[in-house]
Each structure stands twice: as structure tokens, then as C-alpha cells.
Amino acid sequence: MAEPLAIHTQALTKSYGRVQALFGVDLSVKRGSIAGFLGPNGAGKTTTIRCMLDMIRPNGGTIKVAGIDPQADPVAARSLVGYLPGELHLDDNMTAEGALRFFNALRQKQAEWSYIEQLVERFDLDIKRPIKNLSSGNKKKVGVIQAMMHRPEILMLDEPTGGLDPLMQREVLRLIKEARADGATVFFSSHNITEVEAVADQVNIIREGVVVEVVDVAELLTRALRRALITFREPVDISALIQLPGVSLLSQDNHTTVELQITGDMDTLIKALGSYPVVDMQTTRPSLESIFMTYYETEKEEVS
């Protein structure tokens, strides 16, 4: 039976000399899903991905890529993966075509050239030009194509849309969805929360080398977590409200306006509000951005 998890890390730690980059990263990415990897700069995204490909060796913890330990058998692990580095550097002296042919040769010509040509056409890329004459966006297109051209089981993309114009960003996201539809697993890091929310099934938020939140995007959109902004006619004591199961206080203004976060259904809260002089109540679902910003802003506060 195939390993149900495409990527699985447990308690992954990594330090660079005195600098601790990962403090115990736990990740579980299901096969055939799109997992986003969000975090501020320096959070440990690239380090985590590079550990998965055995480019750097973790100090502790375990990694499995499609059930394979990349440290024990890096070739087997990488043969399943299409990788796009965050900082893409290509050999400037080659043409884009030469680079793609070289990359294909590294995989024993696993990719069909006709498929590569399709991708080239979709990205509107002139592959006859030397890499040194390509813009950074066009170099990125070469990077995306080389990662996808052999239709890998797992795509590890570090900032795949960075540096691309909006049209090409959309094309990359479309390709990511197509890859998932073909059965591939996509694990990608991004700073663009909107695009992550648009395509990802699951979002892992990393901060200071620890995965602090794993969000199921579908669940986020359909269930449960809501925010309620309630206005009362006069100042009230809300202590009874915030003691209700699944209810927590986000903010309060002059005891006449409160913002609550509710996990689960609203029934208990609404019944409890029956004894309060409620003037207005607005409920919203928190966006991925608001969840992410919660962690990001906490970090900024700590730094300042």
C-alpha cells in the first residue's frame, strides 16, 4: 500500500553554527493535495524544503518523502520530486533550451520534449535565447518548467510565482492545480496569502522555525471558526459570554461593543445573548490572511 503521506516531518531541527533555524518542524502533507507553506522571511521555509531534499542535513527529527528517508536514499527521494529553488540561479552561458535539455538529461530524459514545448508555449518563453539575456521573470519560467516537465509525484516549489507578472502567476497556479488533478502532491511556499488560499487544500504556517498553525482551507471556508462583532445598548458584563465553550474574547470597547471568536456552532452564544440588550450582531469568517497576520504581528511586536 502506498504511503498515505507525501511529506512527513517530525521534530525537525536544524542549526547553522550558532544560529538555530528550525526548532522542531512537524509537517504532514497528504498525497494528491496542495499544501501551502506560509511564513515571514527567515521563518525556516527554505531550510525545511532543503532538508527534505538532503541538501542540508538536519540536526534532529525525521523526514519522509513518499515514505523515503531523503538522508538514507536521496536519489530515490529526489527522483519523485520536481524542485524549484527560492533563489533560482541558472548557468548564464547556456540557452534556455540547453538548460532544459541538460536538466532533462539529469533525469535520463524522463520528460517528453513535446510536453516541454507545451509548457514553453504556455509561458510564452523564447528558449533559444541565452539565459544571461533573460529577465528574472523569464528565468523563473525556466525554473518552473524544469520542475514540472517530468510530471513529478511531488512538487516542491519555493516561491513559484515570485517575480512573475499576474498573467504568468495565474498560469503557474493553473499548472499547480492541473498537477494535483493528475495525482501529484504540491508543496509550495509563498508570501502571497491570497494565492495560497485560492489553490491550497492545507496551509502550514511557520514562524521562528516551528509550524504554529495548520489550516485546512476547505474547513476554514465552510465551518466553524467565526468572529462576531456584537453591539449592546448599554455597558454590560460579558464574563458569562466568554466562559461559554468555544467562545473567546478578541476585543472589547467601552463594554458596549465586543468582538468574540467562536469555534463550533453559534447556538449556545445566541441563546446566551437572549438575556443581553443586543442592538446589532455581525458575524464574519476569518480569512487565512487574518490568521497569518495574527502570528506575523505577534512576532513583530516581540521584535520591537
Binding site: 529553488p85 533563489e87 525554473g143
Partner: protein, 295 residues
């Protein structure tokens, strides 16, 4: 491995053509001079008597310049390790770290390619590049020697000093590779190996006029480079010794490459210093949290 080997060797075409053709042309120019020098041996000896012994020490016994082996030793092979050694050091120090510093290694190592395969492909490629340059240089000497009447050495025999040269080049190339694995940057690896090459050249030269330097020279690689003397009989033990050390340096480099982290791009830091700091930190743990530098 084959793909890496072919790709790297293809990239070395310019170096082979540039260095090879340059040395080929040098050979074409030098060999015809031998006839002229042989005719003017007496005047030349008078001239050489005025030269300071320190200068003569670097180039060998000038009284031998009328013999083909002495001529080649002085006019060609005496400085060749320095000239080609520079190429070897640049190529060796950048063999893997060059790609790491310019960031292309990060992508290549994302492919199903073991570090060993990559390493062997690269090493074989640079060694073949050096062999190609040496062969072209040998042809540059061998071809005109066929038409120079007084040059009484068989063209095949002329390859012996090139073997000695190849052995010393492989040694310095391998040493530069090892240094690049141990030191934080390609620049520092090339600099350290380059200093050793130049120091070896000078100490070995001065050792012939200052016996006190001889024990030091015995430990330096150039002592075991024969140059033109190889035409009087190649010391196979010395060649084997140089190649043995080259192999040892390659193996140590491979071992280090297996263990180390691959950088995204740019130069590294002094790992020994980091180790020292780490050990100190273990002894005196700091309470403050560390900052991250990589994402």
C-alpha cells in the same frame, strides 16, 4: 555522472583551447631556438657566468642548456608548474564550490543525482581537461622536434616530463579542491593553495643554493617534480607518490562533500570558528534566544 561529466567537460572547451593552443604555440616557438643556442653555447656560457646564482637556482643547471633535456628543463619545464598550476588551482577550487557560490548547485542537487556521482563527474572532467591541455602542449613540443635536426630526443620520450608535470598539476588541483571543501570560499581555497605553490617554487629553487632549506623542500611537492630531468629517466616513484597524494586529497574532498551542507549561494563562514563557538556555548549556555538568518 555521465551527464555531469559531459556538461562540465563541455564547459572546459574554452580552457582547453586557450591553454592548449597557447602552450602549443610556445612549443612551436621554443624548439627551433635550440639549434641557435647549440651553435652559440660558448657565448651563452660567458653570459650565464654573470647571472646571480639565485636566479640560476630557479631554472636549473645552465651548463646543460646545450642538451635537449637541459634546454627543455630551463626554457620550458622549470616554470610550467607555476603557469599551469594557476589554472589547476582555479579549476580545482571552483570545481564544486564555484557552482555553489554562484547558486547553480542548489538546483542541480535537487535532481536524482547522488553527491558521489556529481563529485566523480566533476573530478573526472577537470582531470581530463588537464590531460587534454598536457597532450596539446606535448604535441607543441613533439611536432617541431621532428623537424629540428639537433634535437635528438624521440617525440614519444618527450612525454615523460609532461607526465611529471601532469602529476604535479593533478596534485595541486586536488589540493585546491580539498581546500575549497574545508575553507569558507573559493577565493580563500585558491589563495591558500596558490601560496603553497609559489612558496614551494621559491623554497625548492633556493634549496639548491642554501642547504638549510633542503629539509623544508623535502616536504614540498615541487621537490618531486622532475621537469626536463625526466628525459634522463623518469622517477616513477615520485610520479606515483604525487598521484597518490592527489588521490588522497580527492578522497578527503569527497568525504567532506558527503558530509557538508550545500549552501544556497554565496560564500560560507569559517566552520572551524563556528565549531569553536558552539563548543563554548555548550560550556556557557546563553539565555537569550538566537536570531535566524535563513528562511
Amino acid at each position: 555522472m555521465g551527464t555531469i561529466f559531459r556538461h562540465t567537460f563541455r564547459r572546459s572547451r574554452g580552457a582547453i583551447l586557450g591553454w592548449g593552443l597557447g602552450l602549443f604555440a610556445l612549443g612551436l616557438m621554443i624548439i627551433p631556438i635550440f639549434d641557435i643556442l647549440a651553435d652559440q653555447q660558448e657565448q651563452l656560457n660567458q653570459l650565464l657566468e654573470m647571472y646571480p646564482p639565485e636566479l640560476i637556482a630557479f631554472f636549473g643547471d645552465f651548463s646543460e642548456i646545450a642538451s635537449p633535456s637541459g634546454f627543455l628543463g630551463i626554457e620550458y619545464f622549470s616554470y610550467m608548474p607555476l603557469i599551469l598550476g594557476i589554472y589547476g588551482i582555479i579549476a580545482g577550487s571552483g570545481l564544486i564550490v564555484g557552482d555553489e557560490e554562484n547558486g547553480t548547485l542548489d538546483l542541480i542537487m535537487g535532481y536524482p543525482l547522488s553527491r558521489t556521482s556529481f563529485f566523480i563527474g566533476r573530478v573526472l572532467s577537470v582531470f581530463l581537461t588537464l590531460i587534454s591541455i598536457i597532450i596539446i602542449a606535448w604535441l607543441g613540443i613533439g611536432i617541431p622536434s621532428l623537424t629540428t635536426e639537433s634535437f635528438s630526443i624521440h617525440w614519444g620520450e618527450l612525454f615523460l616530463p609532461f607526465l611529471s608535470l601532469l602529476a604535479i598539476l593533478l596534485l595541486f588541483t586536488s589540493l585546491a579542491l580539498l581546500m575549497s571543501m574545508l575553507l569558507p570560499s573559493r577565493r580563500s581555497a585558491a589563495m591558500v593553495t596558490g601560496i603553497l605553490l609559489v612558496a614551494s617554487f621559491f623554497i625548492n629553487g633556493f634549496a639548491s643554493i642554501n642547504e638549510d632549506l633542503q629539509p623544508i623542500a623535502d616536504f614540498l611537492p615541487l621537490k618531486y617534480y622532475q621537469g626536463g630531468d625526466a628525459l634522463n629517466g623518469l622517477n616513477w616513484n615520485w610520479v606515483a607518490g604525487l598521484l597518490g597524494f592527489a588521490l588522497l586529497f580527492v578522497l578527503l574532498s569527497w568525504w567532506q562533500y558527503q558530509r557538508r551542507d550545500i549552501r544556497v549561494a554565496g560564500e560560507g563562514s569559517w566552520s572551524l570558528l563556528d565549531t569553536f563557538r558552539r563548543n563554548r556555548r555548550r560550556t556557557f549556555p546563553k539565555s537569550s534566544s538566537t536570531m535566524e538568518s535563513s528562511s
